[in-house]
Symmetry: C2
Subunit: 276 residues, 2 copies
């Protein structure tokens, strides 16, 4: 079982930022990444639809053989973790919300935390709930920064356009002195890390920006140690499954993975509908 | 048969700009609009995937009973019209590319036309081909303005953000004097009409902006006159089918339809996979 890869599931390319952190943290492990590119983005869709898509994707990873699954998409983590745990009770499963919330609670001094995320993640209030489980008194402001997803996919991560969009979303929350605004900002969508510099130019250098990728990787290392043996002393491989074209994935993916993707490592697949 | 509604198919809400024009042109007709909101947007997806989605959607409209189908999505029109015609040989079918191309060729004096559209529409070169069928000598520049879709859905259709995005996409093509740039711009995506003012602020007031909605409506009126009888003397109804949540559709849709949408007129459905 320990020779099986770790499954990583995302709506598209954003989860590659999480995969990059996982590979740094666990270099001996192999990974099987599934990006549901034919139906992305998830962030503007309903809870029920995202839950159904996540169940199909994890079923496919399980069918192919994985020893654990990381749900690298915030929207899917927010919507589908209970349904996934119920459907796959013996599978070690990890989302990105709890590690991100833990990192934010550890970082903040003022106990005022802002979260930027997709419409669906904000509406589901999963970050708010996860932060309040760790600190009931924390004040949390969640902002749906819908355009950031398209902006990151377009690769316009700096310059006038990125900064004007960041200003419009974040300016009202971070308008005051640092004492009067959140001191910590959670990047609650895997598409957002490439936009960090543009975001920081609006909110100022003193606000701590938390990206759940690194803390998710640490949480996965802990989960695997306690549940399954780790492959030691080897260099793990990564393979990729996508539900739409390979060409766009290998064109846009490297900006998120921070590493090239070989076409031969990517396979286009169809996800089967769930049995009725 | 003439009592059946006219089917209108789009990836989401953008096609409502076409529906608005159809209703103005054909007030006695009823319409059944299908927005595939669970899988939108189509514009970043491959030809094969868009074709499959379009076949499923039109099959559903046909199953419910329609006397004609307008493919109101430019991406689907560009990718799927041949497959749709083959699958539904007896169904009057109309896309938005040909009417838009005809309007552009009629409007231009310099025979230099710019088309803005999604990645998929630009890549498929359907507008270029349709314009060249009408005027072999026309010069066509197609620009993928991917962010315009998210921008229109966010409702940020004017102001700094919209203008800075429009400038980045269109500035290079419209930088020179009018004699040296296209004199006509086709809005090759149904999401773009609400952005017309921001676009025109960048390209200048003398460039003619062509929106295919009105010409598609005229083409449909002609198609129906010649193929099926029109219902006269009554006021037609519009009903809506969506594959994801009703709430977002009735919140965002009216900005495109320019009219409120009653929740009771909207039904959430699942599209069946195609028979293998």
């Amino acid at each position: 079982m320990s020779d099986l890869p770790i499954g990583v599931f995302d709506s598209g390319v954003g989860g590659l930022t999480v995969l990059a952190a996982l590979r740094r943290q666990l270099p001996a492990e192999s990974f099987l990444y599934l990006g549901d590119t034919a139906r992305l983005p998830y962030g503007t869709k309903t809870h029920a639809t995202v839950e159904r898509y996540a169940l199909q994707a994890v079923a496919e990873l399980v069918r192919r053989g994985v020893k654990a699954v990381v749900v690298a998409c915030n929207t899917a983590s927010a919507a589908a973790m209970p349904a996934l745990s119920a459907a796959f009770p013996n599978l070690p499963l990890l989302g990105v919300i709890e590690p991100g919330a833990a990192a934010a609670v550890a970082a903040t001094r003022s106990r005022r935390i802002a979260v930027i995320a997709t419409e669906a993640t904000v509406r589901g209030e999963a970050y708010q709930a996860a932060i309040h489980r760790l600190d009931r008194e924390a004040r949390v402001e969640a902002i749906a920064t819908t355009l950031f997803v398209a902006l990151a996919e377009e690769g316009w991560v700096s310059g006038t356009v990125a900064e004007s969009i960041a200003r419009r979303y974040l300016g009202p929350v971070f308008a005051g002195a640092l004492e009067d605004s959140p001191d910590t900002l959670v990047l609650g969508c895997t598409h957002f890390p490439p936009l960090t510099a543009a975001i920081q130019s609006v909110i100022g250098p003193d606000v701590i920006v938390v990206d759940s990728a690194a803390t998710t990787a640490a949480a996965l290392a802990k989960l695997l140690d306690s549940q399954v043996a780790r492959a030691e002393g080897s260099t793990g491989q990564a393979r990729f499954l996508v539900t739409d074209g390979v060409e766009r994935f290998i064109r846009i993916g490297p900006g998120f993975l921070r590493q090239g993707i070989d076409e031969r490592d990517v396979e286009r697949i169809d996800l089967a509908p769930l049995p009725a």
